[in-house]
Structures are given as C-alpha cells and as structure tokens.
Amino acid sequence: MNDKAILSVTGLRARVAEEDLDILRGVDLNIRPGETHAIMGPNGSGKSTLAKVVAGHPAYQVTAGSVAFQGEDLLEMEPDERSQAGIFMAFQYPIAIPGVSIANFLRTALQARLGDDEELDLFDFQELLMERMELLDMDPSFAQRPINDGFSGGEKKRNEILQMSVLKPALALMDETDSGLDIDALKIVAHGVNTLREENPDMSVLLITHYQRILNHVIPDVVHVMYRGRIVESGGPEVAMELEARGYEEYRIAHAV
C-alpha cells in the first residue's frame, strides 16, 4: 500500500540529538500524490518535529523507523538534497537572514536546482517572481527586502508561501502557516496554495494547524490527530470539526501515562 505514496513514514522515532527522550514515538503516515493531509494536535505533541525531521533539520536524531520520499530513503539525504528532490517546509517560525534579499535568495535557490552547466534565465525568474507576488498580493518592493528581517508575523508567513510558489515542490509541509494571518491574508494564502495544487495536481500537502478555519479553504483528504509523538487518529475533514468542538480531552484520558 506504500508503493504509491509520495511520502511514507514508518515507525518513526526521533529525539533532539544528545537528549534521551523521544519526541516522536512511532509515527506512521502515508501521503499519496495529490493528497492533502492535515495534522492537528495539542501544543508540544511533536507536529513541528515531524515536519523538521522530514525536511532534515540537523538538531534531530532518528532513533527508529524510516522515511521514504518517492521511494528513496530520505534520512540519508542532506536538507538541500531533500529540497531539490521536491520537499518544501513552510516554517512555523521563519528565520530572518539580515542582508540577503528575497530575490537574491530565490534566484540562488533556483540556480542551485539547475546545477553548474545551466544558467538561470533572469528574465524568466523575474517574471515568475512578480507573478507569484501578485498571486499572493505582495508589493513588488518586498522582493528587495532582507529575508524576514523586521517582517510582521503575517508577512513572514506569506513570504514562506511565496518561496513555496516559486520553488514548486512536490510535497509541501506547511507548519501553522495560518497562525498569525488575518482573515483576508488567510484567504489569499489559501488561494495561493490552491493555485499551486491546480497547476500541479500531483502536489501533496501536509498541513499542520490548530484551527479548522484554513481547512475550509484548503480542503484536506485526511485529517490526523497527533498526540504525544504519535498519530492517534486519522479520518476525514469531520475529525477537524469534532476537535474544534471537543478539544483534546478524550485523548488525554485515553493516552494518559
């Protein structure tokens, strides 16, 4: 059943390197091309850790299990190799890089995908960047600002989606992109994501969120509940509705240690 999956996570356990407690305690997750999955779960349950382990964050150490992306062992790959293979993570807390403009950064990132013997066409790049900024209702001057430096919370989130829309990943991990966005911005960002999905129907999305609201705009095929480092329930969009109403109390009782 895993052979059609774009992302296949099996029995994944991971911890912060040098600490002795696993944060992820046996995660199983399969996402097929074109699917959108949502993960919900209380604070500290390991949602971001899962996304970061998939993206290759060096702070985490995998202690058991496997992660395959398009059939390849992801855990053997460097973060940049994972990105080039088609994985993109929109950070919950995007990092500021003073002095490096968004345009320069994205140009370098696209050039890196081409390799040494092919030169990125700067006109094409400029056009793509401008088109994407328009899609996300961003002022063109934004491209010249240093990455996330002094950005508002919402601007940072929008900037993540801008990068995603330029890099066109096969699998997008969106970690609480909706948090911090105002109502209008949420719609714009959701529209951006949906546009990408229309452009590439095979694009898969793993959307981490605390709120049902974004799922009205980016409709998930599967909703998972993560609790204490495990996926404890999976179902359709109705799971999100129920969580909104009930909270996590029942999991707390069922998974008490």
Binding site: G56, P79, D80, M89, I97, F105, A112, Q163
Partner: protein, 470 residues
C-alpha cells in the same frame, strides 16, 4: 571624571612598565640594517627632513617593542609574531624579476587587480616601497592638483611637506612603528587638491611587495584644501611569503573647511604579510573625512586609526570590513577624538572569521571638554564561522562634555545553525548558504563601499575565501 583620571594613570603606568621591560631587547640589528641601507640609497634630502628622520630614529631606538602588557597591544603579541631583527629593508630599488624596477613591467597579480579598477583620475604604482609610476589626468594637473611620489614631492620643495609630514598627523612620537616609519620611509604619495576642485573619480595607489623577509615603509599624505573633494583607494598586494614580511604604512589626511576626503585601504597581501598602518585624519570645519579599511590578506594586520574632528560641522564615517581565515590575525585600534563641538562621527566595523582566525577591535570615542553637541557612534560586529575562530571587541567611551549623543556596541555571534538550515531547506548547499549569510552580514558595510570596482574585488575575495580555495 575620576574614572578617566584613573584610566589615564593606568595607561601611564603601563607605558612606564613597558619602557623598563624591553630596553635590552630592542631590535638593534634591524635598526642598523634598515638605517644603513636607507642612508645609502637616499637621494640628498633637505635638512629639515634629515633632522626629522634622525630624531625619529632616536625615538624608535628608545622605544621598546610594544608588549601585551600595554592595553593597546594586549591581544597582538608582537614578541611572538614579529622579529624585527630578521627583517631586511626593502630598499625600493632591489632589482629582480618580480620587481618592476628593472624592466618596467608590473607584476601580474597587481596588473590583474588594476584591470578591475574602473574610473581612475590618477594612479601611483608602488613596488617595494618605491613609486615607479605616477599618472594624473592632464585636466586635473591643469587645475593645480598635485599627485606625486613622496620623494619627488620632497625634491620639489612644496612647503606643505615640511609643515605636515610626520608632524601633526602621524608624528614619530606616536609610537614605535610611527617612529620607525618617520625615520625610514622610502617613498609614498603626496596628493594635494586645490581649493574648490572636486574630483569625480578616485585616485589610486597600487602597491606590491615582492621580497620575503623585507620591511617596507610607505607614507601617504593627502591635503584637501577648502571645498575640494577627492577619493583615494590604496590597494596593496603581494605573493605568499615563507618569511614574515613587514609593511609599515603611515597615512596622514587633512581636510580643510568644507572639503571631502574618502580614503579606502584594501589590504590583500599574501600569507606571511605583516601589515601595520598608522592612519590619522584631521577634519576641519564642515569637512568630511571618511575612511574605509578592508582587511582580507596577510597573516597579521594591525591598523591604528585616529580620527580627529577639529572643526564644528566636521564629519567622519569610519567603515571597516575584515574576513579572516586560516590563522590570520586582524587587530583594529580606533579612536574618534571630538575636539570641536557639533561634529559627527560614525564607526562601523564588521568582520567574519573562519578557521582559527582572530579578530580584535578596540575603539574609543573621546569627547573632549567643550565638544558639546557631539554625535558619535561606534559599532563592531563579528561573525564566527568556525569553533576555533575568535573575536575580541572592546568599545569604549570617554566623555568630558555633557550635551552629547554617543553610543557604542559590540557583538560576537556564531554562524547560526537555524539560518543555515533555513537556507539549505530551500536547496542551497552548505557552502552557498554560508556565502549568503556572510555576504548578508557584511552587506551593511559592502553596500557603502565606493563604486569603481571595490565592491566587486572585495566580494570576489570573500567568495574565494568561503570556497576555501587560495
């Protein structure tokens, strides 16, 4: 005020201690070597210069090599790094294949560096402490701009030399190395911009040192008369040396009322280079005297920069940029002396350090009594790219006026793993990610570099270092 008095007393004591301590170890042989040979190659000089040199030489001999016991040299251990005894003077006329003196050719690396320059109003080429070529646009010469080798200028007898050379700006009494230079300089540049003449393009000095184990002494004297404007780019290159090779540079800059001087130093010596510079800027009323020190090369670089704001409305922007790798050692000792009221100075030094490189910044803003409404800032920021790299930053304020705006700040930061991951998660490899973070960090200074090839040169040199190719 008590604090200041105590600091001064401490400084005096430290000085005294030094005196007593190294007396016996003064580098007699080098002094004799250098002195003998400079006498033999020197063309007849006017009496004022002869006696100035003699006095300087005496001072030089009487002063011990600064030790790490003195506050100003605490982090640069000359006793370990520099053996003056082993140096031979670069007479400026040593014929050899690498020198241009014999056949008039410019060494290839210097030629390449010069080819990157655009837009020059004039250029001096200095090989081994001897100006071998001086060029100035005819139209500027016609307007009275004087660009000449220092030796020529002395011969020409411009009275400015007697009054300004090693007197007010970098006199022999400034210290061991200032005295050494005042006694032993072989050549350099004299540049005078007459009243109201404004140069659109920079004057350049392109320097090269060929011989390992030599000591080269160069002086630069620039006088910008009222409401004139000039930008001067002083670039030095050399091959890699097996032996420590000293370059001692004295830079004396005078901007008169309403004038503007921008002095840029591009230090790109090879391994083994020991670059010492004493720079002093004297800014009169409403003048602007900006400096920029870029240190990329050499094994050791030490710059003493003193900016003196002598007239109301004077302004000095002081920029510094350094990138060290391997075991390079850069030491900047700066001071901003606000003597006049209503003046402004703003210092920003930023450096990235890789491998086991070491950066030292020691800076002081001194607001003298009566220098009210001073605006003075000082910032030093360091980015460490390796566990073994180190930076020391010592900003300081000494304020004797009450109506002032001053601030100072210093930071030493690591290359942050989160930043690298962020960039790599977008597909940049580690090297590209480092390159962006470093260029971004230095960008604040890079963005302020003058046009005409400087930014390109500096960026390229940084990229070469980041790629760890030499």
């Amino acid at each position: 005020m008590n604090r200041l008095a105590a600091a001064r007393r401490r400084a005096r004591e430290a000085g005294a201690e030094e005196q007593g301590q190294i007396e016996g170890a003064s580098p007699e042989r080098a002094t004799k070597n250098v002195a003998r040979s400079s006498e033999s190659t020197r063309v007849p000089e006017p009496d004022w210069l002869k006696s100035r040199r003699d006095a300087a030489l005496e001072l030089y001999r009487s002063m011990p090599l600064p030790s790490t016991r003195s506050e100003e040299w605490r982090y640069t251990d000359l006793a370990r790094m520099l053996r003056l005894d082993d140096l031979v003077p670069s007479a400026g006329a040593q014929p050899g294949p690498a020198s241009s003196n014999g056949d008039g050719t410019v060494p290839e690396p210097l030629r390449r560096a010069m080819a990157q320059d655009r837009d020059s109003a004039g250029r001096v080429i200095d090989i081994d402490g001897s100006a071998v070529s001086v060029e100035l646009q005819d139209s500027l010469a016609a307007q009275g701009v004087v660009l000449s080798s220092l030796r020529e200028a002395v011969r020409g007898g411009d009275p400015l030399l007697e009054s300004l050379l090693a007197t007010m700006a970098v006199p022999a009494s400034d210290g061991k190395f200032a005295a050494m230079n005042a006694a032993l300089w072989t050549d350099g540049v004299f540049l005078k911009i007459p009243r109201n003449v404004q140069l659109e393009r920079p004057i350049r000095l392109s320097r090269w040192v060929s011989h390992p184990g030599t000591a080269t002494f160069t002086r630069i004297l620039i006088v910008a008369e009222d409401h004139s404007r000039v930008s001067f780019v002083d670039e030095i290159l050399s091959p890699d040396f097996e032996a420590v090779t000293l370059v001692n540079t004295a830079v004396e800059l005078f901007s008169h009322a309403g004038a503007q001087i921008q002095y840029v130093s591009l230090q790109r010596m090879g391994k083994g280079g020991f670059y010492l510079a004493n720079q002093r800027t004297l800014a009169k009323r409403d003048s602007t005297l900006d400096t920029l020190n870029v240190a990329l090369g050499g094994s050791v670089g030490r710059v003493d920069l003193n900016a003196r704001l002598l007239g109301p409305g004077a302004n000095s922007d002081m920029l510094g940029l350094y990138f060290g790798d391997h075991d390079q050692h850069f030491d900047f000792n700066t001071s901003q002396d606000h003597v006049a009221p209503n003046a402004h100075s703003d210092l920003l030094y930023k450096g990235a350090l890789d491998d086991s490189a070491r950066g030292v910044f020691r800076g002081v803003i001194r607001v003298h009594e009566g220098a009210q409404r001073t605006d003075a800032y000082q910032t030093n920021r360091n980015l460490l790219l390796s566990e073994r790299a180190a930076a020391t930053s010592l900003p300081n304020l000494e304020i004797e006026a009450d109506d002032v705006r001053c601030s100072h700040g210093a930071t030493v930061g690591q290359l942050d793993a989160e930043s690298l991951f962020y960039l790599m998660s977008r597909g940049l490899d580690r090297e590209q990610a480092e390159r962006l973070v470093v260029l971004g960090f230095l960008g604040e200074v890079l963005d302020k570099l003058p046009m005409g090839g400087v930014v390109e040169k500096v960026t390229k040199a940084i990229e070469v270092k980041l790629g760890h190719v030499r």
